[in-house]
Amino acid sequence: MSVPAASFPPHSLTARFAARAARRQWRERWLGRGLRGLSLLLALLLLALPLFLLFNARIDDAWREALLPLLAGSFKAALYAMLVALPLGLGAAIWCARFATPGLRGLLKPVFELFEAVPAVVLGLIAALILAPWLAQRVLGLVLLLALLPLLALAAGWLWQRLAPAGWQRFWRGREIGLLLPLAALLVPLALGLGQAPLFASFAAQLQPASPWNGLVIGLMLGLATMPVIFTLAEDALFAVPADLATGAQALGATRWQALWRLVLPVAAPGIAAAVLLGFSRALGETMIVLMASGNTPLLQVSPLSGLRSVAANLALEAPDAVRGSVHYGQLLFSALLLFGLCLLLNALAEGVRARLRQRLAGS
């Protein structure tokens, strides 16, 4: 220490600090090094994981044949799930971020966040044991329900805006779901009953699935499971768009929907695209729901009424019994590598798109 101690009356603490200085410095240095070493180790481990898969993976022609239906099954499950998750997730995100009252938003957002945490095995259980046998008899009813629901919403909205007194409209502004919920709840038994009406018996027979455990069930349940993923990400992106953008437009006479469509959505588009990509990646890799409710038959059929077997479910079924080092083992690892790569790719894409969003928000 080159600070001259004599220039000032010696302090009693100075000696104590001096006595500990070496030890403190040593500790400081080694903590930094230790943390760095630990992080390096972790980085190596994370790097080693895919490499391990790569070195053990194997592929031959026969297996390529077998792999195709699995891949097709994964994509079929994920695509049907997206058909459900996209409208639900994006619609709910749009509603929550831009239309709902703050109180309602504060209520809905945690509900969907908690829904995201529901273990997949629970959803798989309900899909396999309850939904599948129930739905097997009611495919037509479901189709009717899905067709009628948006129509009902539009009709209700049109009538409401036409006929309801202005005071009511003002009160329910931002709370429209309160009006729609009971209507939708009423529509469900109606549509299902209609689907079972004797009049449509021949239609219903055509829609009879080959097995209760099929793409339709997977689409519904996996879609529900993916919906909150898309919801949270898209809602964040939409909510981050400054509010004055939309209110300014509304002041100029645009409706709330027009303001959203023309101004907010274009700004938030990258965030929404990222949400969709990540949701798709999640659906692609989801295991338990597909494992329990898809029937696990490796079919190459597009029809939602037939079963499927996905790469992930196949891993869960076959890997525990695969003999280490065998050809089958290598093949399973290959399929896992494929799935891994796909998910990484989707994630990287989403990350890239999201970076664009951040730039755009910073620029605006």
């Binding site: 080159s2 001259p4 220039s7 603490l13 006595a19 500990r20």
Partner: protein, 272 residues
């Protein structure tokens, strides 16, 4: 080693013969490409209060942080020039940073007590020295609180969370915390800006009392405060140290127009 700096401390021979606590020569500082300090020369005499005044953003805090090297924490901050603490190079390679910072205590604009009890706050630095004995800790905590003029108010509340104290008490607690590690210099960065008038008065009395043992470098936007407590006053503008003199002379007869404008003309606007 112990000789005071032989070169002329400040132009005009103002501090000649005085022992210097802090000294900066040709000190320039850049945040990335933005220059915050430009060739600053400043000397802070021992056991005196030196006030540093100047318009907002002129680099007062940046200059203060050079003396205890808190600027090292800012990633893109680069420093050129000579900084000495009691004659020793503060940026020497072999210097122990914790020891330097212990000797050069700092009080921030916003009181920032740790979310711990009052006595734990004061004991923080003592524990760094390895003090464990309860009696000694208690003695030193009491001494520091007394020196900061807070003891009478908190003697029954030592176990309470420091965040429950009033802003003025918190500021004095933070001073006590700095005094407990026995610094030689105190850097104070607008310490009274968040205090009410009565707390401010008490604080000023405290600064005058501290002058007995410590060298104080005080940044303030309050001209009367500078006039009341400081022996010397330095005026900064746009990263340059323009004028340094005894407080009397600065306030009655400044050499530069800028200084005079700032002290008189801007007085009303700056004092909030």
């Amino acid at each position: 080693m112990s000789a005071p700096a032989p070169v002329a401390a400040m132009p005009g021979g103002l501090l000649d013969g005085q022992e210097l606590a802090l000294q900066a020569r040709g000190l320039s500082l850049d945040y990335g490409s933005r220059r915050a300090l430009d060739a600053v020369d400043l000397a802070v005499p021992c056991r005196r209060v030196t006030a540093l005044i100047g318009p907002s953003g002129c680099g007062k805090s940046s200059l203060l942080r050079c003396f205890n090297r808190l600027n090292d924490e800012i990633a893109d901050c680069r420093i050129v020039g000579d900084v000495r603490v009691f004659g020793a190079d503060a940026y020497a390679a072999e210097l122990s940073l914790p020891e330097l910072r212990r000797r050069v205590g700092m009080v921030f604009q916003k009181p920032n007590p740790f979310p711990q009890s009052v006595s734990e706050n004061v004991a923080f630095g003592l524990r760094l020295a390895g003090l464990r004995a309860r009696l000694e800790l208690e003695d030193r905590v009491e001494a520091a609180l007394r020196a900061a003029g807070l003891w009478e108010e908190v003697r029954d509340r030592l176990g309470e969370s420091a965040l429950r104290l009033s802003a003025g008490q918190q500021q004095r607690l933070v001073i006590a915390r700095a005094l407990a590690v026995e610094p030689q210099v105190l850097l104070m960065d607008e310490p009274a800006s968040m205090l009410d008038p009565i707390s401010t008065l008490r604080f000023e009395e405290l600064v005058v009392a501290l002058r007995e043992r410590y060298s104080v470098l005080l940044v303030t936007h309050n001209m009367q405060q500078a006039a009341r407590v400081a022996d010397y006053t330095a005026y900064m503008q746009a990263g340059r140290l323009l004028e340094f003199d005894t407080t009397d002379r600065i306030f009655t007869n400044p050499r530069l127009r800028g200084t005079e404008d700032y002290i008189t003309g801007k007085l009303a606007r700056d004092e909030e």
